[in-house]
């Protein structure tokens, strides 16, 4: 135990970029990707992680004063800053990530051998959902790495079982035999959709109500562009925060906030993709290994939820949902975070829901609106341990000490994650 805590202390001292670099180089060598690819992958991911936190720094600097201003002016306590996929930075940079990856692989292989699951958990990138959750638990339990790892593995194992339940439907709807999608909040959206769609199909009038995806895309498609969406949201928040500012100063601040939020919406996912790039060699090596071992069985090979986004109803529903969800979060009492960066997860939820609504835009919108409500509350309720995880990793420490709170829907508001966190926090 002492060795473990010494190792953790040493790792933390290095900072998260170097943690992910070292972890990926070691895992790369372990999974035989070749030392050149291992080194390149490790450094690339470290670069992505550093870039991710740079962007988050910019957005905190721009958004935090604005939401604070709104709070003093209107008593609007929407003061949590939405950083959404910055959680991927926790996921790959917290000290237990290597242990989590190895343990999950061992547990998954055992479960496949024992025929407890058909899902081969090969998509290493998507481990980040479980690993971020693990980081939150680690932070909530005063730095207990083991509890963090167990919580994260439990989350991912349940995700795999959910993938077993949804795989056939995904495969048929998207013409992709052999895949499964065990990704966190996405696969949960499918399971959530099943009873809701059943109910909607029994409401007269609603049953056959639909909207044309092409029409929506043509008229409102612009709002689906991350840069445009970010700019518009930034300006709206800016108007509330600085609307009566003196002369040009108000306008400058409003437009400046718009641009900053647009920067975040465009650059944040790019940085995340650089981290993902570093993990690719390991993923490919694991896929090959697992495919060889289990080639005579019916298995579902885990892939990223991005493969579900093909249907036109996905983008159409997403465009309608953007303003609806921001409005909903603004008016719901007790919800303390306005979704901005978190809106990036909506297309993935839509991709998971459309196979169940058979591509019906209206039903998809209704399902996701209902689905998002627990995310709004859970992300507010557990924001402290999430923020603490950033602080313990040495990110934004000064601002956090001054009261800054960082939240997200994906993973901060995750429904399954909420119950796992509550359970594991009992041991803290």
């Amino acid at each position: 135990m002492e060795i473990l805590s010494t190792a953790v202390g040493w790792l933390l001292g290095l900072g998260s970029s170097l943690i992910v670099m070292i972890v990926l180089i070691i895992l790369g060598l372990l999974f035989r990707v070749g030392w050149q690819k291992a080194v390149r992958g490790g450094i690339t991911a470290g670069v992505g992680l550093a870039g991710l936190f740079l962007v988050v720094n910019v957005i905190i600097g721009a958004l935090q004063p604005a939401v604070a201003e709104m709070a003093t002016r209107f008593g609007l306590t929407k003061t949590i800053v939405d950083v959404n996929w910055a959680d991927a930075g926790i996921a790959w940079g917290w000290p237990g990530v290597a242990g989590l990856i190895v343990l999950l692989l061992v547990v998954n292989i055992l479960m496949v051998v024992l025929k407890l699951t058909k899902t081969l958990w090969t998509d290493v990138w998507s481990y980040w959902h479980g690993s971020a959750l693990a980081g939150f638990v680690w932070a909530a339990t005063d730095g207990n790495v083991l509890l963090g790892i167990l919580a994260g593995v439990l989350y991912l194992v349940i995700g795999g079982l959910m993938s077993d339940m949804t795989a056939k439907k995904y495969q048929e709807f998207n013409d992709m035999p052999g895949i499964g999608v065990p990704c966190g909040t996405t696969v949960q959206a499918s399971l959530f959709a099943i009873p809701v769609v059943w109910l909607l199909d029994r409401i007269p009038g609603l049953k056959d109500w639909d909207a044309s995806p092409e029409g929506i895309k043509k008229r409102f498609g612009l709002i689906g562009e991350p840069a445009v969406l970010g700019f518009v949201l930034g300006v709206i928040i800016g108007i509330f925060a600085y609307g009566t500012g003196e002369g040009d100063l108000g306008l400058t601040k409003i437009l400046g906030l718009g641009m900053n939020v647009a920067v975040m919406m465009v650059i944040l996912p790019r940085m995340v993709s650089i981290i993902a790039e570093g993990i690719v060699p390991i993923t490919m090596s694991i896929v090959q290994y697992m495919r060889e071992r289990f080639k005579d069985r019916e298995i579902y090979v885990a892939v990223d939820c991005a493969v579900l986004l093909g249907h036109p109803a996905v983008m159409a529903s997403t465009i309608i949902l953007f303003p609806l969800l921001v409005f909903l979060a603004a008016i719901l009492p007790g919800v303390q975070m306005l979704p901005i960066a978190s809106l990036a997860v909506i297309p993935f939820w839509a991709g998971a829901v459309v196979p169940y609504t058979r591509g019906n835009v209206i039903k998809t919108v209704i399902v996701i609106m209902l689905y998002s409500i627990p995310f709004m509350y859970f992300s507010t309720m557990l924001v402290d341990s999430q923020t603490e995880a950033y602080r313990m990793m040495g990110q934004f420490t000064e601002l956090i000490d001054q009261g800054l709170k960082l939240g997200s829907w994906d993973m901060g508001g995750d429904i399954l994650g909420f119950f796992i966190r509550i359970f594991f926090n009992l041991f803290g």
Partner: protein, 99 residues
């Protein structure tokens, strides 16, 4: 003139990166110096379809429309065995050679 292969996925984060990696590696092996492999969001595809250097679209999702250039479904890059990947890569090499 150079030739462009776009690898399109829903988020441009993970799945397209995996396919891009495999294709890039093969292009280098074949010695195709003038082939660019670019990963993009499927939502941005319209910015590329008009380009005269575009020779192939590799999609990581099901596609619900048609294009003037060949489209290859890239799922084997994610879940396929090495043999399945090679079949796909041979096909891509063929297309690039014959343009």
């Amino acid at each position: 003139m150079g030739k462009l292969i776009v690898v399109a996925c829903g988020a441009g984060i993970n799945t397209s990166t995996i396919a891009e990696d495999s294709i890039q590696e093969r292009m280098v092996q074949e010695g195709f110096a003038d082939v660019e492999v670019k990963r993009i969001l499927m939502a941005d595809i319209d910015g590329y379809v008009g380009r005269t250097d575009l020779v192939l679209i590799v999609s990581m999702m099901k596609i619900f429309r048609t294009f003037d250039v060949p489209v290859i479904q890239g799922m084997p890059f994610l879940i396929g065995s090495q043999d399945e990947k090679n079949v796909l890569l041979d096909k891509i090499v063929d297309i690039v050679k014959n343009v």
